[in-house]
């Protein structure tokens, strides 16, 4: 079974986000970049499927030069080889990214293409499903459970207050949700081996880049909140009653 995992390198979730002076992006110096957390579940799912059924795991990313590090990290976890589509370190909408990934996947023709459900950062959460539509493949988005039964892929996705179950045929596309599995951590042997694994590089233009549908006009920090009221009565019952009174009479939310 050939599995492709499309990943994206993003600022670590605990990174402080500093908007650039031109407001068209964020500062990248002194920011720790990581594989987007949801992509870790996709990589783990791919590795587990390979362990069960044999085959190959190919990582693909569309990103700036620094994204090579994310590919190396994924190779260290056990992926076999990687494809790096180079992009500038600016905002790219999901149409640009999905078009490039669909082109790369068209060449690779995997049985299964896995994506994290959302790249934390641009937070589009659309790329994997867009690729499924472009390639005309069945898909399951936000899969929190996944298993192969013969040539059928069964999955479960959590929706608001319920869950949907799906059974789709390969070749297919899946985007992964937290809870799907517990991603492994690279060991030293894996890290050493990753240095020798092949990484193929393409320029975006080689694959047929799309014009963007969206323009990022600017970023701004979220509005600052005015200082709140602090209740620090020593008697918990009194403090609780005061809170309930404020929520009812002042905030009018209960």
């Amino acid at each position: 079974m050939k599995i492709a995992v499309c990943i994206v390198q993003v600022p670590a979730t605990d990174a402080r986000i500093v908007i650039r002076p031109d407001a068209r992006g964020v500062e990248t110096k002194e920011v720790k970049f990581v594989i987007s957390p949801y992509d870790e579940y996709a990589i783990e799912a791919a590795l587990q499927l390979k362990e069960q059924a044999g085959g190959e795991v190919v990582l693909i990313t569309a990103g700036p030069d620094r994204a090579l590090q994310a590919l190396r990290e994924g190779l260290a976890l056990g992926a076999d080889r990687a494809v790096h589509i180079t992009l500038t370190d600016e905002y790219h909408d999901a149409l640009e990214v999905a078009t490039l990934l669909a082109a790369a996947l068209g060449k690779e023709a995997p049985d299964l293409a896995l994506f994290g459900k959302l790249g934390v950062g641009f937070d589009h959460g659309a790329t994997g499903v867009m690729v499924a539509a472009m390639l005309d493949r069945p898909h399951i988005s936000m899969a929190a459970k996944l298993e192969m039964e013969g040539t059928t892929l069964k999955g479960r996705r959590e929706i608001e207050g319920a869950a949907e179950t799906y059974a789709i045929a390969l070749p297919a596309v899946v985007t992964t949700e937290k809870g799907l599995n517990s991603p492994r951590i690279a060991n030293l042997k894996g890290i050493m081996a990753a240095k020798k694994k092949p990484v193929e590089t393409f320029a975006a233009a080689d694959l047929g880049a799309a014009a963007p549908a969206l323009t990022l006009e600017g970023l701004q920090p979220p509005p600052k909140k005015a200082a709140g009221k602090l209740i620090s009565d020593e008697d918990p019952a009194k403090a609780a009653r005061e809170l309930v009174r404020l929520l009812r009479e002042e905030a009018k939310v209960i």
């Binding site: 605990d14 499903v129 207050g161 799906y166 970023l219 309930v244 929520l247 939310v253």
Partner: protein, 324 residues
């Protein structure tokens, strides 16, 4: 006629609130620009439900009532909408940013070679569409415009936009089921045994963090939540400790929520958590560490031990009910 198209999500014959919010946003834009509002309701739904769509602002309601649409299928749903889009070229397509709205908008974007301006908290039109949407899980707000020549596909963050009271004409037109054997079709809907409110849809959320110390202690939050008709949420620390399931997680690797009232109990307020709940209208923090960052985000802070305070809040609410 120039119009905006709204996708109306139906689950078990009920239209979803997030879709009515989208219809109302479309109503506002349409009235300002001399457009009409068209809604596509996919799946079986009664006249009372279609009336809600009309009341939220729809002039034309395309209703595909076929039972085959009772469960979600991205390609079948997309085919129904693509038929409408290609026949009448809407100014924009609006959807709620729900699990279904996210999937369907992305699928449509792939088919139409456009992008989704997703999770919008503000939508404007001045010659072109412009939305404000959070990026970096709300650590920054991005203003994004849709380039000329691309169909604007916009999903709206639930609970941000009110369902309005400006009704539309509400003319119902039957919509034929596309003749298509779907590649992807939901095989079944699993519902939890007890009807829990999902944090993504709740008006009130009571959330617990690391200071809950263990799964059994969530009982006091559940009691408070029951009193408030609230959903129970959790921080990543509580979910990763296995005290409560991931569907309850609020934050950057969980759900983004915008309830009227968010009560954070024993949550220190890591940047990833704040990112997921800071668009809540009123935030209450109950924490014994007065340096906890959550107090910076809170409208009301209670300094003290949550194990003492939370049950007292529940009691105060019960007393209030008795008093009437």
């Amino acid at each position: 006629m120039a119009h905006i198209l709204c996708f109306v999500e139906v689950r078990e014959s009920q239209v979803r609130k997030a879709s009515l919010e989208a219809v109302s946003v479309a109503r506002g834009l349409a009235t300002a620009n001399g457009w009409s509002v068209e809604a596509a309701v996919l799946g079986p739904a009664g006249a009372d439900q279609l009336d809600k769509v009309k009341a939220a602002g729809a002039d034309t309601i395309h209703h595909a009532a076929d039972a085959a649409l009772a469960l979600y299928s991205p390609d079948l749903y997309a085919a129904a909408l693509l038929g409408l889009i290609q026949a009448s070229k809407p100014e924009a397509v609006l959807l709620g940013h729900t699990a279904m709205g996210r999937d369907l908008s992305a699928y449509l974007a792939g088919k139409l070679k456009t992008a989704v301006a997703g999770d919008a908290v503000k939508v404007e039109f001045a010659g072109g569409f412009k939305v404000v949407r959070p990026m970096y899980a709300g650590k920054a707000l991005a203003t994004v415009s849709v380039n000329a020549g691309f169909l604007p596909l916009i999903t709206l963050r639930p609970n941000i936009f009110p369902v309005g009271s400006t009704a539309g004409k509400g003319e119902v037109k039957p919509l034929a089921l596309p003749s298509l054997a779907p590649k992807t079709l939901c095989a079944g809907l699993e519902k939890p045994e007890s009807a829990e409110i999902d944090v993504a849809e709740a008006d009130v959320i009571v959330s617990g963090g690391r200071a809950m110390k263990g799964p059994e202690n969530f009982a006091i939050l559940k009691e408070l939540a029951a009193e408030l008709g609230a959903a129970v949420g959790a921080s990543r620390a509580a979910v990763d400790s296995g005290w409560i399931g991931h569907p309850h997680q609020v934050g950057q690797t969980g759900k983004t929520v915008s309830p009227n009232l968010y009560i954070a109990c024993g949550i220190s307020g890591a940047i990833q958590h704040l990112a997921g709940m800071s668009s809540s209208k009123i935030i209450v923090a109950i924490n014994k560490d007065k340096e906890a960052p959550i107090f910076q985000a809170a409208d009301y802070g209670v300094l003290g031990d949550l194990f003492q305070i939370v049950p007292q809040v529940t009691r105060a609410l019960k007393d209030l009910k008795k008093e009437g």
